[in-house]
Amino acid sequence: MTLQEIIFTLHRSWGDRGCLIAQPYDVEKGAGTMTPFSFLRAIGPEPWKVAYVEPSRRPADARYGENPNRLFQHHQYQVIIKPSPADIIDLYLASLAAIGLDHRAHDVRFVEDNWEAPTLGAWGVGWEVWCDGMEITQFTYFQQVGGLEVRPVPVELTFGLERLAAFIQGKASVFDVEWLPGLTYGEIFRQNEVEQSQYSFEAADVGMLLKLFELYEQEAKRLAGLKLILPAYDYVLKCSHTFNLLEARGAVSVAERTGYILRVRNLARLCAQGYYDERERLGFPLLKEAGDGAR
């Protein structure tokens, strides 16, 4: 199964379960969880079901396209369902079977793994799911997001598409994965990997990035103050990515690191609370049916 077919199949599988199939969000980010579709929508009593592919940038993981498994940018397949349904594991196993990983023919195991995102003030509990010893999914029940207790509880499934496809296609390197017949992952993305690696480790202008971090931080605060939460959150994402670039570039000392994480977390908290307040002011519009999601 090509990577493209895997995406189509997952879209069909989760779309049929009532998930909105959303498009990638257009601001740089390190993980699918960080888009407003996950981070902000996880907050508050409104129900939410969404699935999407999210290109995720991790400058520190860049390897000039030379490591078979590590990438500057990888693609996450992200599913969020709130409140978490009682049959979520069955739904999940059905989506695996749809992409050829039938748990009757493979060994699928749920190994305890709790998730924490310090820059987002978020944590959850759950598992990494192994298929024949390979970690294929991070399965998390969110407990806190942006410092807020989340109730009802959303469940998040994250698949690393490159690794998943390499596993399904039996490839030792993600660069050999077939995105569609006759076109490999390497043919599409290797140049990006090489150039982004050079940029992240060698060419990034530290002085400019430091300035940008300050500017983005100020702008996020200013916009949050104006109750423009979604624009403010875009600047939080920009802060986070700028910090990741600075760190990959070796411009952040160990002592400074904690300080930067704290600054981003404070912004994330600000947006989380602001988002909750705004949705509350709007009367939590997605609570269409009485009792839906809320208690």
């Binding site: 748990h103 024949d132 029940y141 407990q143 109730r151 509880v153 469940v155």
Partner: protein, 702 residues
């Protein structure tokens, strides 16, 4: 009629590591709850698989045991008025007890006649009682990181999805976390999808077995062990015992099928620790060792299910392990390009603790502390070389910047040893780098070589004294820097090797190695630091079975800061306390000790003696002094107490015949000085006044 009770909590995959303690709590609290509820069961057991926690209680009665409850009310004379009518006191008591006044009994008591209410509680049906107590039992289980799910207002370690609760063939009607009880359970996810209806508690385990679930973890563990051993034997290998891994794997599967895979022999050039860690910690595979202890190119994993598609599962696992080993081989190759000693300066980029600098700072300190300790311990640890100790100290942390340790932090020390060896460092240095992390867990192996001991003590004391110095103290159950564990590691090491070492002097070496600001903080915290170490000594001595009063007697001496020395004193005391006359010595010492505080610092003047007993005690003391002090210098407390016995008679006679607090000041002062010298000499061996119990009671004759 008594019947079996089954309570099965159906959960989403329960964390394997939490299972043993959860099952123990479930059985223990289940038994307690049933007993408290007067439904005393025949026997209680708890079973667990990733998807279920099950309490099985045999022979639970169908009703609570009946009881008679008595309550004493008001005195009869206050209970009835002149007309014989019940007073408010009697009426109130009866209504409070829920009985008519006419049923109250009059009973004589030493305080006069009183009213009693006697009620018999016939007991309620077990189903009703269980419906109340079982949800409480489930809600009462505690977890360090409990979670919420969906919309329910309930916390558990993982979501609860069903609840089977049967007493015999009856459903116990209850609900937990919005899930109602019933007689349905579920079999193995892949092999038996769909529900299983259980008509009767007695058939539960057999029905699960039929649905591909081995509910009994002991049976599952044995099955895994047998399968794993058989697969290893097929390739002429063995699987080293690893109870922790075995337990985790047991709790990751409901129906185990072990399979053996292989990896390319070219990876065997990697150090064994790297191969084993890659297999074990990341993949939960069992490594296979050959007869000579070498790693064989095989691994064994346990699949959750039967043999269906086993070839696919094997290929998948081999593929994953190969990718992991490729990574490890790449990291190892990169690491070998730089000699270990050249890495020391890169430690400047690794924080130790913000207040205590970087690992480069720590490395410089360890160089100095280890060399100092080597000199300090030279007399008791043969073959120590302070130059080698300094070298080991310098290199101890150098592996922290290697790629393999960054990838596998648990390999710190092991990789240091390996890379030190390949960089041509002395064998003792390589070994010490590995050993300085010991003990690596509770009850794990302690450092064994002289240099390893020195480096382990240096590193742990550096952390303990540094943290306590800058105020990073453990609080309650929180010990984020592992200070208690480290301090106990130091004490355990010194005790294991019966190695006398003055920890006060050792902490002094640590203090001197820190920069001035921290040095001053450590100096200020010194009493607290030494006390922290003493607490560990007390704890370990008590754990070894020494009586608390004996420990206190030993700790009331210069041995307080020398664990091995303190233990020798404890052992000698325990041997001598049984001997005839020792009790009298204790009494004599205690009397001397109690008044010695009144003495000044002036010397004893034999010319001022007025009683023969004074002179006799003085000359006994003169005679006993040199051998007692020699015994102390030799840390030989058996000899000390043997020699001390010579003082018993003269002390007894002295206290019988001499009145210390004589009126004449010169005489009194002189006698007090004599008593003081006795107390000091004996007290240098042990503070006998701390000894509790028989001796003193008998000796003082009350």
């Amino acid at each position: 009629m008594p019947a079996d009770l089954i309570l099965e909590i159906g959960v989403e995959e329960f964390p394997a590591k939490a299972m043993p303690s959860t099952l123990a709590a479930l059985a223990e609290r289940g038994r307690h709850a049933l007993n408290e509820a007067r439904l005393v069961p025949g026997g209680v057991r708890a079973f667990g698989t990733p998807r279920r926690l099950t309490l099985v209680a045999g022979g639970v009665p169908d009703r609570q045991a009946p009881v008679t409850v008595e309550a004493r009310g008001p005195a009869v004379k206050a209970a009835f008025d002149a007309g014989g009518q019940p007073t408010k006191a009697a009426l109130g008591f009866a209504s409070g007890q829920g009985v008519p006044v006419s049923s109250l009994e009059r009973r004589p008591t030493p305080a006069g006649e009183y009213l009693y209410a006697v009620r018999s509680d016939p007991g309620r049906p077990a189903l009703d009682v269980l419906a109340e107590i079982l949800p409480q039992l489930i809600a009462g289980l505690e977890f360090p990181r409990a979670m919420r799910w969906g919309t329910v207002d309930f916390k558990f370690l993982r979501p609860i999805r069903w609840l089977l609760c049967l007493l015999g063939s009856e459903v116990v009607p209850c609900a937990v976390a919005g899930v109602a009880s019933g007689r349905e359970t579920y079999g193995h996810r892949a092999l038996h999808p769909g529900r299983v209806t259980v008509p009767e508690a007695g058939s539960y385990l057999a029905q699960l077995e039929g649905a591909w679930v081995m509910a009994d973890q002991d049976a599952r563990r044995r099955a895994i062990q047998a399968q794993v051993a058989a697969l290893a034997a097929e390739v002429g290998g063995v699987v080293p015992a690893d109870p922790e891994l075995l337990e985790e794997v047991t709790q990751l599967v409901e129906y185990p099928t072990a399979l053996r895979g292989k990896f390319d022999a070219r990876f065997l050039k990697l150090p064994a620790d790297v191969l084993i860690t890659t297999m074990k910690h990341h993949q939960r595979y069992f490594p296979v060792l050959g007869g000579d202890g070498q790693v064989l190119p095989h691994f064994i994993t346990v699949r959750n299910g039967d043999a269906t598609g086993l070839e696919t599962v094997r290929r998948g696992n081999e593929h994953v392990l190969t990718a992991r080993l490729e990574d490890a081989a790449f990291f190892y190759g990169e690491d070998l390009k730089v000699p270990l000693a050249d890495r020391v300066e890169t430690l400047a980029g690794v924080t130790f603790l913000e207040a205590l600098g970087t690992m480069a700072d720590k490395s410089r300190r360890l160089e100095q502390i280890a060399a100092g300790l080597a000199r300090l311990a030279a007399g008791v640890l043969p073959g120590l070389d302070s130059a080698l100790a300094a070298r080991a100290g310098k290199l101890a942390k150098a592996d922290l910047t290697t790629a393999v340790v960054k990838e596998f932090p648990e390999l710190q020390g092991y990789m240091g040893r390996e890379y030190a060896r390949l960089s041509g460092e002395a064998q003792a240095v390589c070994q010490a780098i590995d050993e300085h992390y010991r003990p690596r867990g509770a009850g794990a192996e302690l450092p064994g070589t002289p240099l390893g001991i020195v480096l382990a003590v240096a590193d742990k004391l550096d952390t303990v004294a540094g943290c306590l110095g800058v105020g990073l103290n453990p609080t309650g159950s929180q010990d984020p820097y592992g200070l208690r564990r480290r301090a106990a590691g130091v004490v355990a090491t010194l005790l294991a090797h019966d190695l006398p070492l003055d920890l006060k002097a050792a902490v002094g070496l640590v203090q001197a190695a820190y920069p001035e600001a921290v040095r001053e903080q450590i100096a200020a915290a010194l009493p607290a630091i030494l006390d922290f170490l003493r607490q560990r000594t007390r704890g370990l001595l008590a754990e070894a079975g020494h009586r608390y009063d004996v420990i206190e007697a030993a700790m009331g001496t210069a041995g307080a800061d020398d664990p091995a020395d303190a233990r020798r004193r404890c052992r000698a005391l325990e041997r001598f306390r049984a001997e005839e006359g020792f009790a009298d010595l204790v009494v004599g010492f205690t009397r001397a000790y109690n008044i010695a505080g009144k003495a000044g610092e002036g010397p004893v003047d034999p010319a001022r003696f007025t009683e023969p007993a004074e002179g006799a005690l003085y000359s006994a003391l003169e005679r006993a002094g040199p051998p007692l002090r020699a015994a102390l210098r030799a840390f030989d407390y058996d000899r000390f107490f043997r020699e001390a016995a010579a003082l018993r008679g003269p002390i007894d006679t002295f206290f019988t015949e001499v009145f210390v607090m004589a009126e004449a000041e010169a005489v009194r002062t002189n006698r007090l000085a004599l008593v003081r010298d006795v107390a000091r000499l004996l007290g240098a061996g042990a503070d006998l006044s701390k000894l509790a119990g028989d001796e003193r009671v008998a000796g003082e004759g009350r």
